[in-house]
Amino acid sequence: MTHVKLSMAQALNQALRDAMRADDTVLMFGEDVGALGGVFRVTDGLTAEFGEARCFDTPLAESGIVGTAIGMAMNGMRPVVEMQFDAFGYPAFEQVVSHVAKMRNRTRGRVSLPMVIRMPYAGGIGGVEHHCDSSESYYAHTPGLTVVAPATVADAYWLLRRAIEFPDPVVFMEPKKLYWAKDEIDLGVAEPGIGQAVVRREGADATLIAYGPTVPVALEAAEAAAAEGRQLQVVDLRSIVPFDDETVCAAVRRTGRAVVVAEASGFASVSSEIVARVTERCFHSLAAPIRRVTGFDIPYPPPHLERHQLPSVDRILDAVDDLQWEDS
């Protein structure tokens, strides 16, 4: 019986557990990931099952965590490290950009780094300053990294399993606000791999392109639009790098209209990249310019103001309304 009802945090935990059972070179380390089980409990019970040598707390230093993971990956291990929160991954930025991303290239393929950097990210949880950044664009902009973001419980499990098995480094963005979302999933049936987007909902009128925390919002918007007689297709990217041009462009060509929905500030972002590349490839299929619903270009707001920053169903529906419908 492989059907289980899990929250996303539990699915991630199960993925780590199964990966560590399957391969004893898989290590999990970071801040408070041992006895506490991580501040989001994603590593709950791993030290108890696998011992201190396999899942352990490190000194409090993110560059140290990522830098030592590089060395371990060079020497036969498959380290999975946790950055406690998105914005606390920045001290490790030099290691990520100058070494994690470049090691394979600079050594002409001789040194691969099979490692995963897990990053609880984005907002919607009433978090105070420095706890709600959407930092995916920094990583997606860096050649050599693979960047994924699950939006469903099943993907949390399968994308993390795939990331740990992946021969190259993966930045694994975990949407914090979905940690507690539950779903019944079948662990016996694998989801598509890294690099593949999926259509979460069919619809002929317009395409919503989302990833991570905005996928459920896009689905909700599609539900609301359907009630008003407009059928919206929803594409979940899953993998930001590599980007699945094929699935995304095919979806946009089917509808001729598209809105990109992302929580991060829009300027010079993953969302702007999506608009650019889809426009370059699908211009003649488009009936209207692609619209974006993103965060404003401001630092993530304090909890009492955060609802103004987050893409909402209403904003998505307004953007869809703006797609130059002939009948309007």
Partner: protein, 362 residues
């Protein structure tokens, strides 16, 4: 019983077994290495010096883009590798070409980076030498990771991690010492204190009594040695490697040496220091003093000296010939190595460049 201070603080003076006149001195803690080790070390110093000077000449001839020379620091370079076994790892910086070659890596492959051919030219696994690191002190953390993984695998590996005096101010230096100490990782952190970080002298880098003193804050034993005395360096580094291998955890060693040349050929040292400051260091040259000692001890004669010089000439010749050949790196390779399987986007971009090149040729 020893106090924390006795265990962790460096010797009152840098350890020196052979002075600048070539006279040997007894030391309470460290012994002169065996004669054959010193004779072998002498030949390696001569070769290292020749490599440094040949590489600098090749920059002037346009065959290398840049060369940060370790001229004057060869004793550090050679000692760092002589104390290692085959199972050990070396983590070098951009200045450590001589150490890499002493470890047995091909000199042309070593200079691939500075030749502008590719970012790193040798297979790190072949001689267990990490790619040369340019972002200062970042490599120290990789060294700790390699050492920790080796321990998890039950391997008998020690990691020699090189860093400059300037690099000790970086956050990663601190993080690496701290992680290594907490994990009890078998790493020897070896600082070549050559008094300068490009133009900035040590006094502007730290207020610590010495760089080796920094160890005590992490619980890492610190020791210091005369960086131009191969014998003292071999004794101190050899003991540190032995302790790390015996499970005593990381060690911090500082070598007092001097960058007698500019930072690189692109630098103008006259803007920040006087020649008068350099002159006494030329007298403390590592080769001169070992030559004097070995000659006095009857271990080195003209024949052996000539043999060392001729072996060094061969290395220089190998470099000259090898680097005279123009390199033609394949542009297609630009896209090949980022990922085990190139992304669709990289395949598109590779095709674009291939097409552009085909049109250029047509």
């Amino acid at each position: 019983m020893s106090t924390v201070e006795e265990r962790l603080l460096p010797s009152a003076e840098p350890v020196r077994l052979i002075d600048e006149h070539g006279a040997a001195h007894d030391h309470a803690q460290y012994q002169l290495p065996p004669a054959e080790t010193l004779v072998d070390g002498y030949a390696q110093l001569v070769k290292g010096r020749r490599l440094n000077d040949q590489a600098s000449a090749l920059v002037r001839q346009g065959r290398l883009a840049v060369y940060p020379s370790s001229h004057g620091q060869e004793a550090c370079q050679v000692a760092a590798t002589m104390v290692l076994g085959d199972q050990d790892w070396l983590f070098p910086t951009y200045r450590d070409t001589v150490a890499i070659v002493s470890r047995g890596v091909d000199p042309i492959e070593t200079l691939t980076l500075l030749r502008g051919d590719w970012h790193s030219g040798y297979d790190p696994y072949e001689r267990k030498v990490a790619p040369q690191s340019t972002p200062l002190a970042t490599q120290l953390l990789h060294a700790v990771g390699v050492a920790h993984a080796a321990r998890l695998k039950g391997e008998d590996t020690v990691v020699m991690a090189l860093v400059g005096d300037g690099g000790t101010s970086e956050g990663d230096f601190h993080e690496a010492l701290n992680f290594a100490a907490v994990w009890h990782a078998p790493v020897v952190f070896f600082i070549q204190n050559n008094e300068y970080a490009i133009s900035v002298p040590l006094a502007k880098q730290t207020a610590a009594p010495s760089l080796a003193h920094k160890g005590i804050g992490y619980g890492v034993p610190g020791e210091r040695a005369d960086g131009n005395d191969l014998a003292g360096l071999l004794a101190v580094l050899g003991a540190a490697v032995g302790r790390a291998r015996a499970g005593e955890g990381p060690q911090l060693i500082e070598a007092h040496t001097y960058r007698v040349q500019a930072h690189t050929n692109a630098d103008d040292a006259s803007r920040y220091r006087d020649d008068a400051e350099v002159a006494p260091w030329l007298e403390r040259d590592p080769i001169k003093r070992l030559d004097a000692y070995l000659t006095g001890a009857g271990l080195l004669d003209d024949d052996k000296r000539a043999a060392a010089a001729s072996a060094a000439d061969q290395t220089a010749e190998y470099l000259r010939v090898g680097l005279m050949e123009d390199v033609h790196p394949d542009p297609a390779e630009l896209f090949q190595h980022l990922y085990s399987t190139p992304t669709p986007q990289l395949r598109e971009q590779a095709a674009f460049l291939a097409d552009e090149l085909a049109r250029e040729e047509a």
